[in-house]
Symmetry: C2
Subunit: 202 residues, 2 copies
């Protein structure tokens, strides 16, 4: 096993564990035993536990297109459909995990109360990547939306709804909370598009 392998194995394992148990509840020993790496090797690549978190957040940030968007948008062309296809991906995660799934970034954002600036910036960058992608969908469908629509704010709003919907479904262990939230969002976006249609006749 070469150096790149070890570093990568640590990051992948930490990604898994942070997602399963959260950052605080994951001990360095947990990472070591699951990744079959020895403590000295981990500390050779990372100054400390927090630097492993930084590495994981960088992986998320850099992998958003290939690992998150592309899989969910395969065969989906309509930009509005893309938004709900992405949300459907989160729904699948919830179903598969018996409503135990949590958005890894959202969980970290609420779990770490006094984040180091480096960590906070990376969490923010992850949010920005997500909501910018959604805003891009709204941009692509701009002709179907009201003229003055703040499409960046809409992107942030969809992120908000996803995070809140996942949070509630997870807390209640009931997918109904996710579905109802998404249904309301869908109603809003539908209404927005209907409004835009009316405008064009005015």
């Amino acid at each position: 096993m070469n150096a790149a392998d070890t570093r990568q194995r640590i990051l992948m394992t930490a990604m898994e564990l942070f997602w399963e148990k959260g950052y605080l509840s994951t001990s360095v020993a947990d990472i070591l035993s699951r990744s079959q790496v020895h403590s000295g090797s981990l500390y050779h690549f990372f100054p400390g536990k927090q630097d492993v978190l930084v590495g994981v957040l960088e992986l998320y940030r850099d992998g958003i297109d290939e690992m998150l968007l592309a899989p969910n948008w395969e065969g989906v062309d309509d930009p509005i459909d893309k938004i709900f296809a992405l949300l459907a991906g989160y729904r699948t995660h919830l179903i598969v995990t018996d409503c135990t799934y949590g958005c890894p970034i959202g969980s970290l954002a609420l779990e770490i109360h006094e984040p180091d600036p480096v960590v906070r910036d990376l969490m923010a960058a992850n949010f920005t990547g997500w909501s910018t992608a959604i805003a891009g969908c709204f941009d692509a469908a701009a002709d179907r939306l009201p003229k003055g629509a703040d499409r960046k704010a809409l992107g942030e709003f969809v992120l908000t709804v996803m995070e809140g919907a996942v949070m509630q479904a997870r807390t209640y262990r009931d997918i109904g909370y996710f579905d109802r939230n998404i249904a309301v969002l869908r109603d809003y976006i539908t209404t927005l598009m209907a409004t835009a249609k009316d405008d064009s006749f005015a």
Copy 2:
């Protein structure tokens, strides 16, 4: 200091600390030193740290009307205004804390990955209390909403938006993220009411 005082002091201190640092990052020693209570006394009233959390969650649940809703709804009569008055209360918290504030229940919900059923039920009960209060506002304004509107789902949706808006404002340390999210929500509710008006003419 009598027994009730000690128990209360522990709970109040724990409430503060869980809000400031989160549950996992608050040590029993933190609670002891700030509350000026000795470990034996704490363990006389609570079997363990988690039971202190249970006590805190019960306080939140039982205090929602007096401690959360009443202060924000003073002098506000219109039920739709009440919704945004409550959200404005969260905005004030964010401003006062330099966008460091987090909803205590939301934070706990995402921080504790494998909650004891007792804890999970209490977090859910807190969410339900909140969204039910908002649903009550929508009920009171039912005549201004579309006939078929799912007012329970709308209550959950407002909770979702609050949690997501707080999460983003906190992560970016920028109140703009909160404001834009609430603006979009306001646009939606306004649109809903406008739609209802149209309906009445149809």
